[in-house]
Subunit: 105 residues, 2 copies
DNA sequence: GATACATATATCGTATCACGACATATGTCG
DNA sequence: CGACATATGTCGTGATACGATATATGTATC
């Protein structure tokens, strides 16, 4: 198991939102905003940069949008590898908090 | 209270180590390695880049090394502002983990 | 049908910055 | 001396995360 490198806060929330079920970019932005009570905002630049990046990494895959309406709507869903990346990141955050408790008593 | 921006893992551990008491660069590197069981390694490039940066931010201050021996030894200690930055970061990590629980049930 | 707003996706530039690689100097132990 | 730990420093760079900006469609109101 190779050492998992940290990911940005935005990436974390994108993966987390997708862990709740398939979603599209704009939906993820809104969900993150709501989930964090406005503390975290993902801009579209970040969003669509990240999706490309994550597809390359194999963390998410794009599914065909079947519904009528806006044809441009692109649905993303988490892959197994993406779920692992999220787990690893959560474990990392957990380790950091445990270390913090350890040091600060 | 302005929105606290995320900090890197290395920065987090540097502040955390200093929260345990004043220390010098090399000591922080070793302490981090030990604290994380080798999971996190801070290279000297990161270390001394970070100290300069943190001094500018007012998170740490450099204290005069009084002891004999290696004169080059520079002791760093956390400022009040640095402690606040650490607290904010811990709160941020905490929020992320809580959000993760929230979503994943 | 016009105005306004929400939905939805996309690109582009750039500042930043975090880190690896490398260099240097002293202390110490055999 | 030779090897290693201690301790600090710098230099380049490649990734990248984000803000600003643009575009197009859906929907509600009048």
């Amino acid at each position: 198991m190779k050492k998992s490198e940290p990911m940005s806060e935005s990436y974390f929330y994108i993966l987390l939102c997708l862990a709740a079920g398939p979603n599209h970019g704009y939906g993820i932005m809104q969900m993150t905003e709501k989930l964090t009570g406005g503390e975290v905002t993902i801009g579209s630049g970040t969003m669509y940069g990240a999706t490309g990046n994550m597809i390359k990494k194999g963390w998410i895959r794009e599914t065909i949008s079947t519904g009528s309406g806006l044809e441009r709507k692109r649905l993303y869903q988490l892959t197994e590898s993406g779920r692992e990346a999220l787990e690893a990141e959560i474990a990392r955050l957990d380790r950091m908090l445990k270390n913090a408790e350890e040091v600060r008593g």
